[in-house]
């Protein structure tokens, strides 16, 4: 039997991130230590993108690519709708939000979607999991080139001042691309091992991100980040993140309805199209931005990340409950499968009666749920 879905508590990784930010604030890496951390960070970024490349399954992308309308809508949300909202946010008055934080908001809107959580939430909400795997993977595959490109085009044009020169964007893009492509090309050799050892690789992934965050915030603290970012600014940032997330989700829900997407695909668009990847974003920021500004740039991403986890978990739980109401098995095949899952074999003589009673119960389930269906 399915257990009721509960809202998640605070993401344990967020607690680690906050602890690392606090550590960098109290004890920032400076001087030669900072230089060593810089080298270690570069290695961590290379390792991260190498692993990203190795983990990404091209077969999964190719397998689900036939549902092109869904993937086009997800990509349009990730690399079209989000950047438009990011540009609008970056145009906000500097008295409302620090321009470097606004640049961080713009940066997060240019990132690819997440892979793991998009798929997990889609599965929880009983959406099209194969579609989610393909969409999220495609978003990441394209993002490795598209995000630096968009950053170069939009952030340079937006004149946020946080970005290194256009030439350095191209160089850094190569720094991201080379390990990523390398990892991906080696996937036939190491992919199986990587897939089998996800439990071992996750701490590597996460500790690399923590290293990048520590280095970034050390530089930011030395540069006086906490004298610039007030509690009020964090509040504004949270509000801005909520508004962006709400607008994206509402637009995607509307687009799914207008496009006549089946419920399972609408869930993919809602979840994959509204996510932004922390694991891609943090190292990309470290590679793309000047060390002193990286902390300010990733702060909005960290806040948005937690917000999207809360929101999507709540929505997925709601969809799950709504789907459960429709889950009264219908027809002989579904009844037999549900019975088998409970260790019951329905005798042949009973099947017509069982199916008829399930149909009656399904009508009662509909009546019970009348008017509140998700």
């Amino acid at each position: 039997m399915r257990q009721p879905v509960k809202l998640p508590s605070v993401d344990p990784f967020l607690v680690w991130l906050i602890a690392i930010v606090a550590a960098a604030s109290i004890l920032p890496a400076q001087g030669r230590v900072a230089a060593w951390f810089g080298v270690a960070t570069n290695l961590a970024i290379t390792l991260l993108f190498f692993l990203h490349g190795a983990k990404l399954s091209r077969a999964a992308v190719l397998q689900g690519i036939g549902n092109w309308r869904l993937h086009a809508l997800v990509l349009a949300s990730t690399y079209g709708l989000f950047p438009l909202l990011g540009i609008a946010a970056s145009a906000l008055d500097a008295r409302l939000i620090d321009p470097r934080l606004a640049a961080g908001v713009l940066f997060l809107t240019l990132l690819p979607s997440t892979v793991q959580s998009s798929i997990a939430f889609t599965a929880l909400a009983r959406g099209n999991v194969a579609g989610a795997v393909c969409s999220a993977s495609l978003s990441n595959l394209l993002g490795i080139a598209l995000t630096p490109l968009l950053v170069g085009m939009i952030m340079r044009t937006a004149g946020t001042g946080a970005l290194a020169s256009w030439g350095s964007v191209q160089t850094i893009a190569l720094q991201l691309l080379v390990p990523f492509v390398g990892g991906h090309l080696l996937r036939p050799l190491i992919g199986g091992w990587v897939d089998r050892h996800k439990a071992i690789l996750q701490p590597v992934d996460r500790s690399s991100i923590l290293l990048v965050v520590y280095t970034a915030f050390s530089a930011a603290v030395v540069n006086g980040i906490w004298s610039k970012v007030t509690v009020a600014q964090l509040g504004v940032l949270l509000m801005l993140s909520a508004v962006i997330l709400a607008l994206v989700m509402m637009t995607n829900a509307l687009v799914a309805r207008l496009a006549g997407l089946p419920r399972e695909d609408a869930i993919v668009l809602l979840f994959c199209g509204s996510k932004k990847s922390l694991v891609s974003g943090v190292p990309m920021a470290a590679a793309l931005f000047a060390p002193a500004t990286v902390g300010m740039v990733v702060l909005p991403l960290m806040i948005f990340h937690q917000l999207q986890l809360f929101t999507c978990a709540a929505l997925a739980g709601r969809f799950d409950r709504a789907a459960a109401l429709r889950d009264v098995p219908q027809g002989a095949e579904a009844a037999a499968a549900a019975a088998a899952a409970r260790g019951i074999a329905i005798p042949e003589a009973c099947m017509p009666g069982v199916v008829a009673n399930l149909a009656l119960l399904a009508r009662h389930a509909e009546t019970l749920h009348g008017g509140t269906r998700a």
């Binding site: 039997m1 005798p347 003589a349 009546t367």
Partner: protein
């Protein structure tokens, strides 16, 4: 004779309990209604002798001295298997103690004489039982007695015993009471003891008595609950309302006319979301019933009564989330109903949509379609079970015609007020049991 008349006669020494019980046992042996499953002669004679011995010794034999009664086949009776109307349990280990309700009646001097037919595992409103046969209605043996406590209703309506116990999950007391012209009480939650009673759907299960008079009902209520059956409230001063909406659709016109005549110009209350309430009750019942029997169904589904096994199997396949949603709706519904009836003391509603349907074609007309009586006779009782309010089925006084009953529904703890109101209706001639043709009540 009513229970009260028997008790008075036995207590005063006018007659002996053993004589009453012998006559009763003989009548039960001649049962042609398929109402009786086991006659407990030895036990009954011993209990009756104990009552007579107490009187002879000058001890108080109890308010129900020498009153014979019978119980639905789901009450534990020491030394007998509790079958719940199923052949599966026919060879179950015997109960090691009486159900708590039986113990209380015994302490009050009542004498247990028989166990009675029911729908298997109480799942149905018809008492169509593959093992024991279909229980017939004393008012017309070609018609159903209703269910699932059909055996309990039939023996009281036929005058074989003055009191019988049944159980009511979604209407299993009120439906047969209505179809056989009796008083049948579904009390508020946990007011009467469920210990030693085979469960069906724990969220709604209650036990209650059938009687042919309000006075007998009040007496049994007092014995079983340990609470007084009287109230200071003036029955004429009780605030009465009629239930509207779905409770005025699919109802025999005679029943509607009687309700309107009993309570003219009273408010017509519409319970909110009544269709959802009935659906939620269906879902909860099916889920809990299915879960209760899931292991036995997995072992040998074909051993179940054909009329119940498909329903239980379907219930066992329902998702937990649907059940949780139904329970969540129920909690919200209780709150809404409590607010709606805050200014009322008694609500009037039909107990059944129609008179007893024929056994040859056990279907009834609901919303223009003929549907199985076994699942839909409780259309007006099931939502009341869902409210968890006490409800007393009372028979319209209509000699010469097939019985019809209505429900008097009260607030939690208002059973005495319902009994008082019912006594007033009986005094005024609106309601009252009528002996079946050829019988004497």
């Amino acid at each position: 004779m009513t229970a009260a008349e028997i008790a008075v006669a036995v207590r005063s020494g006018q007659t002996r309990a053993v004589d009453i019980v012998e006559r009763c046992l003989a009548a039960l042996a001649a049962d042609r209604l398929n109402a009786v499953t086991r006659i407990l002669g030895e036990r009954a004679r011993a209990e009756a002798a104990a009552v007579d011995a107490a009187i002879a010794a000058g001890r108080d034999p109890g308010p129900l001295a020498g009153v014979p009664y019978a119980v639905k086949d789901l009450f534990d009776v020491v030394g007998l298997p509790t079958t719940a109307g199923s052949a599966i349990h026919a060879a179950a280990p015997p109960a090691t103690a009486d159900a708590a309700a039986i113990t209380r009646l015994k302490e009050a001097g009542a004498v247990l004489v028989a166990t009675l037919n029911m729908d298997e595992f109480a799942y149905g409103f018809a008492t169509i039982n593959a093992h024991h046969g279909t229980t017939r209605n004393p008012h017309d043996p070609a018609r159903l007695a209703g269910g699932s406590s059909g055996g309990s209703a039939a023996v009281v309506a036929a005058g074989l015993v003055p009191i019988a116990l049944g159980s009511d999950t979604n209407g299993s007391i009120r439906v047969p009471a209505s179809l056989t012209g009796l008083y049948g009480l579904r009390p508020g939650p946990a007011t009467l003891p469920l210990q030693g009673v085979f469960p069906f759907a724990a969220s709604f299960d209650e036990i209650g008595p059938f009687t042919a008079s309000v006075a007998d009902m009040a007496c049994v209520w007092q014995v079983l609950s340990g609470l007084p059956a009287t109230t200071a409230a003036d029955p004429a001063a009780l605030r009465v309302a009629r239930l509207g909406g779905r409770f005025r659709v699919n109802v025999d016109p005679d029943l509607l006319a009687a309700i309107d005549a009993i309570a003219p110009a009273t408010p017509l209350l519409e319970l909110p979301d009544i269709a959802r309430a009935r659906s939620a009750a269906f879902v909860i019942t099916a889920f809990e019933g299915g879960a209760l029997h899931a292991e036995a169904l997995a072992r040998d589904a074909m051993a179940f009564d054909p009329a119940t096994r498909d329903r239980l199997l379907a219930g066992a396949l329902l998702p937990r989330a649907l059940y949780d949603a139904a329970q969540a709706f129920r909690a919200q519904f209780h709150q809404q109903v409590a607010e709606l009836i805050a200014d009322c003391d008694v609500l009037l509603a039909p107990a059944t949509p129609c008179v007893a349907p024929p056994i040859a074609d056990p279907r009834i007309l609901i919303d223009g379609a003929m549907v199985p009586a076994r699942s839909d006779l409780g259309i007006h009782t099931q939502p009341i079970s869902f409210t968890a309010l006490p409800a007393l089925a009372v028979p319209l006084h209509r000699p010469g015609r097939l019985p019809l009953g209505l429900q008097l529904i009260g607030k939690p703890g208002s059973e005495p007020a319902l009994l008082r109101f019912a006594a007033m209706l009986e005094d005024k001639g609106w309601t009252g049991a009528t002996a079946p043709p050829g019988e004497s009540a």
